[in-house]
């Protein structure tokens, strides 16, 4: 029997299996690949009232507009500002937290702290945002404490002042994700061979030295993976978070790329323009992923692919 006929017979023989796989494929074609195909409206002047094919071509006009109309600088500044702070503070903290937690000598307390610490990860940003709006208002708890400590004289409406926004976004994000992000490091620490610590003890290493020369090198792989992922998300904002915390007064600091795409696309109806911005972001993100992966492989000896 020749090749194609045999393949066909095998296909028929596994038709139930193929049907299962094809259903998955069909879903991906519709919900993943059709939107990718839809990106081409970034190069057109699409109007929602007319079919896509009838829209006139625009070339790179929308990209040119984005780079020159002043919005580019503002949204990039906010996106990189918030994510840069998040990388600088929010990236090392879970590692430190995991190491400190693993150094706790009471196993019961250790487990309890860990369990409690990742609870906030499962709370929606709407709930946390609602709480922040209350806490940061002029009569909220933050003003009450700072007034009592005489740090400030007049209550401040924090969410109305752009200069506080980045910090509010970064700190609340750390509050929510600290414990959850530490899980991967904790697992890596648990996986370290106890003999390494015993050998270090025999050599007279102090606890700090054991952390420095055993724990940290052993979890380097996990750190590298998380670093690659974090850097590749530098242009992705936490949309759910910023969407809740933004308001008309803090726009100068809260207008990140993702929010701008939403505002321009779904609120102002400029579909082609905001698709172009989204495409720009996707391409840069892919580049960042490849770049940070290479850097991690060079510096840490491990990477995600």
């Amino acid at each position: 029997m020749n090749g194609p006929a045999r393949t066909l017979r095998r296909l028929l023989g596994q038709r139930d299996l193929q049907l299962m796989a094809l259903l998955g494929l069909a879903w991906m074609v519709i919900f993943n690949y059709l939107p990718m195909y839809g990106i081409f409206i970034a190069f057109k002047n699409f109007n929602i009232l007319k079919p896509v094919w009838a829209a006139p071509w625009a070339g790179l006009e929308h990209f040119r507009e984005f780079f020159t109309d002043g919005s580019f600088v503002r949204v990039m500044r906010n996106t990189l500002g918030i994510n840069g702070l998040r990388l600088a503070i929010g990236f090392p903290l879970p590692i430190i937290f995991a190491i400190l937690l693993s150094e706790l000598v009471w196993p019961g307390i250790k487990r309890a702290v860990q369990t409690i610490s990742y609870l906030p990860h499962f709370i929606s940003w709407v709930i946390l945002g609602g709480l922040l709006v209350t806490w940061l208002s002029d009569v909220g708890i933050v003003n009450a404490i700072l007034l009592k400590l005489r740090v400030i004289r007049e209550p401040i409406f924090y969410l109305a002042e752009p200069r506080y926004f980045w910090w509010i976004a970064v700190v609340s994000d750390i509050w929510k994700e600290l414990g959850w992000s530490a899980i991967i490091y904790l697992a890596a620490i648990t996986g370290i061979d106890p003999q390494l610590y015993e050998a270090a003890t025999i050599d007279g290493a102090t606890r700090l030295q054991k952390t420095r020369y055993v724990t940290v090198p052993c979890i380097r792989g996990a750190i590298a993976i998380m670093f690659v992922l974090t850097v590749s998300y530098l242009l992705n904002s936490n949309f759910d978070q910023i969407f809740v915390l933004k308001n008309q007064l803090n726009v100068p600091a809260s207008d990140v790329i993702d929010i701008y795409v939403y505002r321009m696309g779904l609120q102002a109806g400029r579909f082609s323009y905001s698709t172009a911005i989204g495409l720009f972001k996707s391409v840069i993100a892919l580049g960042l992923l490849l770049l940070s992966n290479r850097v991690a492989r060079r510096l840490m000896g491990s990477s995600i692919f």
Partner: protein, 292 residues
């Protein structure tokens, strides 16, 4: 580990950890206490540890309000439907793609892997949902999220651990793939089903964005979207009242008690399942990051 004397470091470390625990739990406490305080009295502020005037009135209002109850019903229906469909559909595709004999397996995997790294973005996605007729439809909560290649990889990692002999004996009995999947693979996959169901369930319960961009009909909005609108309103209310009279202020803080009660009610289901299922969360996170 041998017993050793507690050092200063241990004491400080314990204090730091207790600080983290406090910072984690206090916001929950704050919301609960404020939801249990009488609305007008909240005006004076300063309720941090215990209700000053205990009252269940806020909850009474929340559980009598037809639109809040309806939003809760939408959330429950959405979460149950979407989670069930997502778990079974993703598991089924993962089952097929985990079979070595599947013709074109590599191509299927390649098609899926691309979706991990690249997508169309918000606007093409919105236009797709619109042209599929899913705007203002309950099914927008189900179809667009019922599959993800990432979850498929987690399923696959688990399915590979199932001993092949079990399936072989089923084959000899003449069972087809659908029967093996439903009667053998699914019953053996309890932990991974629970893990994915939890992630998907929490996502669906917490999501408010779909309700904002794809739903105009207020009757179809889930509780999180409802809360979002209330909070957005109170934000602009605050900005107005920062300039305006204290009458506006009075109204907004009375509403605050009701908001707090709704927040407690919207978080309660998660707090309720959390202690029982938290070990699956951890397992899922690790499986995911190994694959990722």
């Amino acid at each position: 580990m041998q017993a050793r004397r507690l050092s200063l470091f241990d004491a400080v470390n314990l204090l730091v950890m207790l600080g983290v625990v406090f910072a984690t739990l206090y916001p929950f406490w704050f919301v609960i206490v404020n939801s249990l305080n009488e609305g007008m009295d909240s005006l004076r502020g300063g309720i941090y540890w215990w209700p000053r005037i205990f009252s269940l009135e806020n909850y009474a209002i929340v559980f009598k309000d037809a639109s809040i109850l309806r939003a809760f019903a939408v959330s429950v229906l959405r979460t149950v439907t979407a989670t069930t469909v997502t778990v079974f559909f993703t598991a089924m595709v993962a089952y097929a793609l985990s079979k070595r004999q599947l013709l074109g397996r590599k191509a299927y995997m390649a098609v899926g892997t691309v979706t991990l790294f690249f997508g169309g973005g918000l606007i093409p996605y919105f236009l797709l949902i619109r042209s599929l007729g899913l705007l203002d439809s309950f099914f927008v909560y189900v179809y667009p999220t019922m599959f993800s290649f990432y979850n498929l990889l987690i399923f696959q990692a688990f399915f590979r651990e199932i001993p092949a002999e079990l399936e072989e004996s089923a084959w000899i009995d003449g069972a087809g793939n659908f029967r093996i999947f439903l009667q053998l693979t699914i019953p053996l996959s309890g932990p991974v089903l629970a893990t994915i169901a939890l992630f998907v369930g929490v996502y669906n319960w917490n999501d408010y964005f779909f309700g904002i961009i794809f739903i105009n009909n207020a009757k179809l909005q889930p509780i999180q979207t409802f809360l979002y609108r209330v909070i957005a309103e109170s934000q602009s209310g605050q900005m107005v009242s920062a300039i305006l009279s204290s009458a506006v202020q009075a109204r907004r803080i009375t509403a605050q008690g009701i908001r707090m009660a709704t927040m407690v009610a919207a978080t309660a289901p998660i707090l309720f399942v959390y202690p029982f299922l938290q070990r699956y969360f951890v397992k899922g996170m690790l499986l995911g990051s190994i694959k990722g």
